[in-house]
């Protein structure tokens, strides 16, 4: 057998007290697609960042194509033929595709000749791999699918033989993801080695030859993809049996609790982000809004919850109007029974440097039970926080710990416990499981279904199609600021995917 493309021996890395990688040994055969799965924080990205020279391992050796390699910086990795497509694209937003591709690989001090050379090389790569993209387009004008293609081109332009992709499908529509997989298979056919990091089991099953599972910084298993199952991988990832499907009783929807009529929202530049959207959410049902990120879901959520002003339209909460075009007050809406789990918990849901118990009452801190005269009743607040920690299984169970020190899943549970324990009539939830590991996802999903069964109206916005499909009683698809279709929970992924890409949008609107 020829040399393996990559061989890792005993890689170990700690960040302070966090042991991110524990003695990891892994062999990736050349010319294969190798999947690495694991929950968030399992150490996948750290391992790959070590391979790409972003961090140095504390211990351990790396062999590339049989040779021992000291990878001290990204340029070492590039020189060894390793390319990386990062989860957050490493592109300069106001540069052209061509400029981004040559950045760092210009060759000569003057751009004129290097640009000309890059243009013809890019043409060749585009032809060979089906990676068409206009070399003179500005990055920020391109859809994310194409931006990702630029990242792949960047790596190939540098002569990458080994391509690492970190969570590549997080930002893609199902159709774009399928296209990406076709590109990866084509690259494999050309003899490239591909390492695919993901937490989506479906992708692993779809394209990989082998798969390695990481849990809590350790590599727990490597399997041939053909010889394993989704259930086995999920169990390896979490360390216990996981229910992948949410169990749900049939829907019994009651009165309309949230009603949105002709809502139009513009952003600060005057661009219409939400365009005449109307829908109802009834008591005892979960309405899911599917869509690729950036199609107006964020603005819709923020407007309904009183954070952003609408240009026109109206919203009714249990039949009473909400002043969405001006004067809506999130605190007032909370008192009227609307709870909000924001999409971005770091930006809106939590104050990370605060202690857990402080975050657990944010927004509800004016309630009498947390007050002693004009002052906060610290004992009552901590007692309350301890009860929530218990009930939501938040770990570590320490209400005095700084919120930043909790994992993503536990941070999300802090937000959920705060909002759900207020016993709201209407629950607005954005991206409830973004950056949350499989075990916590299961927990969060069960809680959401519980809310519904208790007769609450739940509006769920998520870019995870699986989540939308398994939780929702009705699915609305948003594209370019409009609702382009409504489907039942039995809608196929392909059907929703087309709607999300705007393909059937025109017909649906007509």
């Amino acid at each position: 057998m020829a040399h393996a493309a990559i061989e890792l021996k005993g890689i170990d890395k700690s960040f302070g007290s966090v042991h991110a990688n524990r003695n990891i040994s892994l062999t990736i055969p050349a010319g294969t697609i190798h999947g690495i799965i694991g929950e968030n924080g399992a150490g996948k990205s750290t391992l790959m960042s070590i391979l790409y020279g972003f961090y140095q391992a504390d211990r351990g050796e790396i062999f590339v194509k049989g040779e021992r390699a000291a990878i001290l910086s990204s340029s070492d990795a590039i020189a060894r033929g390793i390319g990386m497509v990062h989860q957050h694209f490493m592109l300069v937003h106001n540069f052209t595709v061509l400029e981004n591709v040559i950045l760092g690989a210009e060759g000569e001090p003057l751009l004129k000749t290097s640009i000309a050379k890059a243009r013809s090389e890019l043409n060749r790569l585009e032809r060979d791999y089906g990676l068409e993209v206009d070399p003179d387009a500005i990055i920020e004008d391109l859809p994310v699918g194409l931006q990702q293609r630029v990242e792949i081109l960047k790596a190939l332009y540098r002569g990458a033989e080994i391509l690492i992709l970190d969570e590549p499908t997080g930002v893609l529509t199902p159709a774009e993801a399928d296209h990406l997989f076709r590109i990866l298979l084509q690259l494999k056919k050309e003899g490239k080695t591909i390492v695919l990091i993901t937490h989506k089991l479906r992708e692993i099953m779809a394209v990989t030859d082998n798969v390695s599972v990481m849990r809590q910084g350790a590599l727990v298993a490597t399997r041939k993809t053909a010889e394993t199952t989704v259930e086995e991988l999920a169990e390896l990832m979490v360390g216990r049996r996981v229910l992948l499907r949410v169990e749900k009783s049939p829907v019994s929807a009651g009165d309309v609790l949230l009603s949105v009529r002709n809502l139009t929202v513009r952003d600060s530049r005057g661009v219409t982000m939400v365009d005449g959207v109307s829908f109802d959410v009834r008591a005892g049902e979960i309405v899911g809004i599917a869509g690729v990120a950036g199609n107006g879901q964020t603005e819709l959520l923020e407007t309904i919850t009183g954070i952003r002003e609408a240009a026109s339209g109206s919203v009714f909460l249990a039949g009473r109007p909400v002043a969405v075009t001006g004067g809506a007050d999130p605190a007032d809406l909370r008192e009227r029974g609307m709870a909000h789990v924001p999409e971005d918990r770091h930006h809106m849901g939590l104050v990370l440097p605060f202690e857990e118990n402080e975050n657990a009452i944010l927004g509800y801190h004016r309630q009498k039970k947390y007050l002693k005269g004009p002052f906060l009743d610290i004992d009552a607040i901590r007692q309350d926080a301890r009860e929530k920690i218990e009930k939501y299984d938040i770990r570590p169970a320490d209400c005095r710990l700084k919120t930043a020190n909790f994992s993503g899943g536990n941070q999300q549970k802090i937000v959920l416990s705060r909002e759900m324990e207020q016993d709201p009539d209407v629950l607005i939830v954005g991206q409830p499981t973004r950056g949350v590991d499989v075990g916590a996802i299961e927990f969060i999903h069960r809680r959401l279904v519980e809310m519904r069964d208790k007769g609450k109206a739940v509006l769920l916005v998520s870019v995870e199609l699986d989540e939308i499909r398994s939780l929702s009683d009705r699915i609305l698809v948003m594209f370019s600021g409009r609702i382009v279709g409504e489907r039942g929970p039995d809608a196929t992924e392909g059907e929703l995917g087309l709607l999300m890409a705007g393909v059937e949008g025109k017909e649906a609107a007509a």
């Binding site: 972003f54 990204s74 070492d76 937003h93 210009e106």
Partner: protein, 323 residues
């Protein structure tokens, strides 16, 4: 011809007054394009002016003055770099500190060394960077209009004035036609992209702030050795801040920077020219108002007339790898 003479005179002063602004604004352009905000242009310029005045007074050589100015200004820019690149400190705080250091130490050192109330001794013409007569300037001076423009407006400036205006196309070329420029612009927008491409973010930014140091040194030299004959305390008089305004006004692009500086220079020249002359319909305008005019205009322009000026996206943010 009276009006034409006045106009040539006015434009000539415009050029003279915009040179230090232009050098300082271009200096700021290098630093800010790389993502390091520099509010310390004023201080570096002032320290440069003092170094130029002092060194030229002691040695009698303008060139030694120039080298001293560049050296001191470069040193201060490296201090700013050390604080904000290596130690990821707050760039505004570091810049303000440099301004205070320069304002205080120039006066103290000036008084200690020369005992003239914080100024450096008056320089003879040999120790200054005086006017350069372009070839044939005398010969064509009498040719109407064109000759006058050539000999009065284009000729007769300090070498640094020509350098300043040549720096405009040169900076454009560096920024948009060279590898260094591409990387410089990239590091100001998304340093992580530069880092993952295998280029050192810190070294790139250091080189950018060094460019800034050299150019503010030249700006200071111009003030002390060309516009004046020696250093006078606080002689920058806010020009570093006006240059910063010009930079924002021009949206961090070299050619618009030149026009912005010429505009501010013109307002300055105009306010000097108009002092004491009653204006038609308005009558006598207080001197103070005319002196304030460039600054008022700056506020008005920045407040609304230039559209949104979007700074380099990573500007002001120290680069830290994830985690």
């Amino acid at each position: 011809m009276q009006l034409f003479d006045t106009l040539v005179f006015l434009l000539d002063s415009t050029v003279r007054l915009s040179v230090p602004l232009l050098l300082a604004a271009l200096a700021g352009l290098y630093s800010e394009r790389s993502g390091v905000f520099d509010i310390g242009l004023e201080g570096k310029m002032l320290a440069g002016a003092f170094a130029a005045g002092a060194a030229a007074a002691v040695t009698g050589s303008a060139w030694v003055g120039l080298i001293a100015a560049v050296a001191i200004s470069l040193l201060l820019s490296l201090v700013h770099g050390f604080a904000s690149i290596t130690h990821r400190g707050n760039q505004i705080v570091s810049g303000v500190a440099i301004n205070f250091i320069a304002a205080g130490s120039t006066i103290i050192l000036g008084q200690a060394w020369f005992s003239q109330g914080g100024r450096t001794p008056l320089l003879s013409d040999d120790a200054r960077l005086g006017a350069i007569r372009l070839p044939f300037a005398e010969a064509v001076a009498d040719v109407p209009i064109i000759g006058q423009i050539y000999s009065d407006l284009l000729s007769g400036h300090s070498i640094l004035a020509y350098v300043a205006f040549l720096m405009v196309p040169f900076t454009w070329w560096v920024l948009f036609r060279t590898r260094f420029g591409l990387r410089l612009r990239a590091v100001g927008e998304n340093p992580a992209a530069v880092d993952t491409a295998g280029i050192s973010v810190a070294w790139l930014r250091y080189r950018a702030v060094m460019c800034t140091g050299i150019l503010t040194g030249l700006a200071g030299t111009y003030l002390a050795l060309s516009q004046n004959a020696g250093f006078v305390k606080d002689m920058t008089a806010g020009r570093g801040f006006i240059a910063l305004a010009a930079l924002i006004f021009a949206k961090w692009r070299p050619v618009p920077v030149m026009f912005a500086c010429l505009l501010f220079g013109f307002l300055d020249a105009f306010s000097i020219r108009i002092q004491g002359t009653p204006l038609p319909f308005i009558g006598q305008v207080p001197v103070q108002f005319m002196q304030a005019l460039p600054y008022i205009l700056t506020v008005v322009l920045l407040a609304g007339f230039i559209g949104q000026a979007i700074p380099p996206r990573a500007g002001g943010v120290p680069y830290v790898k994830e985690r």
